[in-house]
């Protein structure tokens, strides 16, 4: 934006006296939201470049994996010549730059490759697609649980800062973060299933069996959201404008919700989309623990059975989701915080 230049244009206009009132009004109001499309364009370009880099790195890393992954159980039974022939047929003996360019071309056509071991010769996309609804279902449930309970807990803690509800909440957060997840999941499986009478293993026919996985999945999220919102709210509470808001005569509740909470959300919105998308994309650990046929469980399977194209495709999907989440976060942040200069690239930090 170059206000100086536009000023000269107006001054030279034949109408004589420049209508400075309207001009300034335009600049004032548009200075924030007006530059948003340009900002989004810049950020999406950055996101695309990041995804491109991630894709390339993932592809190159996969080439470093042992070649056994391309043969499965047949590896020992095949003669070296036969192996060579198979690799040749898959294009794996071409120079790396040709492989890379083939990979890009396939990707551009939406072809993620075919599975080798997991379900031989089935396109990877066909394997992943039916898994998505499961991950989505549990992800959404866990997201709703952790976001609502986590925010409630955090807000409550901030309100009661320094008193026993705050201490209780903080000990929960510390417990979840300090104890390895496997330990308390084990306890849930050992004791909570008996106490509650809920089934351990997932079964699509028994809705009761959906409760434990969703709850387990949200435990970490609750702790995370509670910790962040509490922290940001306490930060805001110590600021001077809160003193003025109270001196104005606003009630404590009003100050809490219309000033503190709203402002505390700003530092959160940047990371919120990523964490939400990642929850929806499925938990690697929980899905394999409760034998839920989702994407997370699939990734574990694919890695342990060395199905390279499948691993490649899944890592791609996860990393793209991550980058996309950050991109949305940047935009949300720019919308919620008027102090971010949209004109300058990368000004969102």
């Amino acid at each position: 934006m170059r206000p100086r230049r536009s000023g000269r244009v107006i001054a030279l206009s034949p109408s004589g006296r420049p209508d400075s009132n309207n001009r300034e009004r335009g600049i004032y109001i548009r200075s924030h939201i007006g530059a948003l499309p340009t900002y989004i364009l810049k950020k999406s370009l950055g996101a695309l470049i990041t995804v491109f880099f991630v894709i390339t790195v993932v592809f190159l890393l996969m080439r470093l994996m042992p070649i056994e992954g391309y043969f499965g159980d047949d590896f020992d039974r095949l003669a070296p010549v036969q192996r060579e022939a198979i690799l040749q047929k898959m294009g794996l003996l071409d120079p790396w730059y040709i492989q890379l360019s083939n990979f890009y071309q396939d990707l551009a056509r939406g072809d993620l490759g075919t599975s080798i071991i997991f379900r031989p010769n089935v396109p990877v996309a066909e394997i992943i697609a039916p898994k998505v609804p499961y991950s989505l279902k549990f992800g959404l449930a866990a997201m709703a649980l952790s976001l609502s309970l986590g925010l409630l807990l955090g807000i409550f803690q901030a309100r009661e800062k320094g008193k026993w509800p705050d201490a209780l909440g903080t000990s929960y957060v510390i417990f979840i973060n300090a104890v390895p997840a496997a330990v308390y999941f084990l306890f849930i499986q050992l004791y909570l299933t008996q106490l509650s009478g809920l089934p351990i293993l997932y079964s699509s026919a028994r809705p009761l069996s959906w409760i434990l996985p969703a709850v387990s999945m949200s435990l970490g999220g609750i702790a995370g959201y509670a910790m962040w919102i509490r922290r940001f709210m306490v930060d805001e509470l110590n600021k001077d404008y809160i003193k003025l808001a109270r001196a104005k005569g606003l009630s404590n509740t009003r100050v809490m919700f219309s000033h503190v909470l709203r402002n505390a959300f700003v530092p959160m919105v940047q990371h919120l989309p990523t964490t939400l998308l990642m929850t929806i994309a499925g938990s690697i650990f929980i899905e394999s623990l409760y034998s839920i046929p989702g994407m997370g469980g699939l990734l574990i399977d694919a890695i342990s059975r060395q199905d390279n194209p499948l691993v490649q495709a899944l890592v791609l999907i996860y990393s793209t989701i991550g980058v996309f989440g950050l991109f949305i976060g940047d935009i949300l942040m720019a919308i919620t915080d008027p102090r971010i200069k949209l004109e300058k690239a990368g000004g969102a930090r």
């Binding site: 109001i29 003025l244 808001a245 005569g249 606003l250 404590n252």
Partner: protein, 348 residues
């Protein structure tokens, strides 16, 4: 004599700090009359801010009014408990302006909304009517193009402009008393004068009673009709502005006035008060200023001096005013003060 608008008598305010009790205000008494401008002066930690915060119930959570009265509009504010009760006073009848305008406004909401919020809280105006009132207030505190400025965020305002907005917020409910806690400390000198002018102008317009908290005696001389000098949580001398500047009685007031840079003599070090303020955790015996007072009498270390009336409007807490006390001449600098001020007024 007319009835005071707000009357503080023998007020004690205590804070509990890490298990220990600190007495921030010890037996302060003060009357505030409608329409006047009272300046409360004193060094940092003397309790100026705490005293005024207790008028609106904004003491920190670990502080409480231990004894005494704050009479205002037929009520005793010292007995007020809980937010609900305070909100009938806070922002409605007594408003506050804080020291640092850079941080006093919510950075994420437009200036207009922050004023409108207060207007809606304290007046029956809603929606467009409240918005128009907010724009009117912006114009009143001297902000050009208020309609456009209404939609801007605090970071688009300069420090002086923000202080004007804070004042607009304070004025939105037409309060009776405006407490200005060092309103110009964070601003540069030219802006300071503008803000003081603005407050003076609003005062005339709304028949406001203004309390300034400051340690800038220049500001005091400029705006105040009465001055209260605070030391270690009590008001040691109080009187009309002229009486404090030209006929000060308390040695602490003498010391404060002597430290005015304007009174310094070229080539000589500026006067400064020796020692440090007393420890507010400990019980203070006698006159709190005695250990730093070069004119201290023996009784100053034993017994708290009572209030001696100097004139109907002027009193001081010092044993020097007792008839048995030896006559002590105030320091030379103080004697010159009168001449200096007369001179200064002539120049202006």
């Amino acid at each position: 004599m007319e009835q005071p608008l707000l009357s503080v008598s023998d007020l004690y305010i205590k804070f509990s700090l890490r298990g220990r009790v600190l007495t921030a205000i010890r037996g302060a008494s003060l009357d505030l009359y409608a329409g006047e401008t009272l300046a409360i002066v004193g060094e940092s930690g003397s309790g100026k801010t705490v005293l005024t915060k207790s008028f609106v119930g904004m003491l920190d959570a670990n502080g409480w009014v231990d004894a005494g009265f704050i009479r205002f509009a037929g009520q005793d504010l010292a007995k007020y408990r809980g937010d609900g009760q305070w909100r009938t006073i806070r922002g409605k009848k007594i408003a506050m302006v804080f020291q640092d305008p850079m941080t006093a406004l919510n950075p994420l909401r437009t200036v207009g909304l922050q004023i409108k919020e207060t207007v809606e809280l304290h007046t029956p105006l809603r929606g467009m009517a409240a918005k128009n009132r907010a724009i009117e207030l912006l114009a009143q505190v001297g902000i050009a193009q208020p309609e456009q400025r209404y939609h801007q965020y605090p970071h688009e305002f300069s420090g002086g402009m923000r202080q004007r907005v804070v004042i607009a917020i304070a004025m939105s409910c037409s309060p009776q008393i405006l407490i200005c806690d060092e309103p110009t400390t964070a601003l540069d000198v030219t802006i300071q004068a503008q803000i003081l002018d603005l407050i003076r102008q609003l005062q005339a317009e709304y028949n406001l009673t203004v309390i300034y908290i400051t340690h800038d005696l220049g500001v005091v001389a400029n705006v105040a009709s009465r001055v209260a000098v605070m030391y270690a949580g009590e008001i040691v001398e109080c009187g009309q502005s002229r009486e404090i500047f030209y006929n000060a009685q308390h040695p602490y007031t003498w010391a404060l006035l002597s430290s005015l840079p304007q009174l310094g003599i070229k080539g000589q070090p500026l006067f400064s008060i020796q020692g440090t303020p007393p420890n507010l955790f400990a019980e203070i015996k006698g006159d709190a200023y005695a250990p730093r007072n070069p004119y201290a009498l023996e009784i100053d270390f034993v017994k708290r001096p009572p209030c001696f009336q100097v004139s109907p409007t002027h009193y001081a807490r010092t044993w020097l005013l007792d008839e048995r006390a030896p006559r002590i001449d105030p320091p030379e600098a103080i004697k010159h003060l009168r001449a200096k001020f007369v001179e200064g007024a002539a120049c202006r």
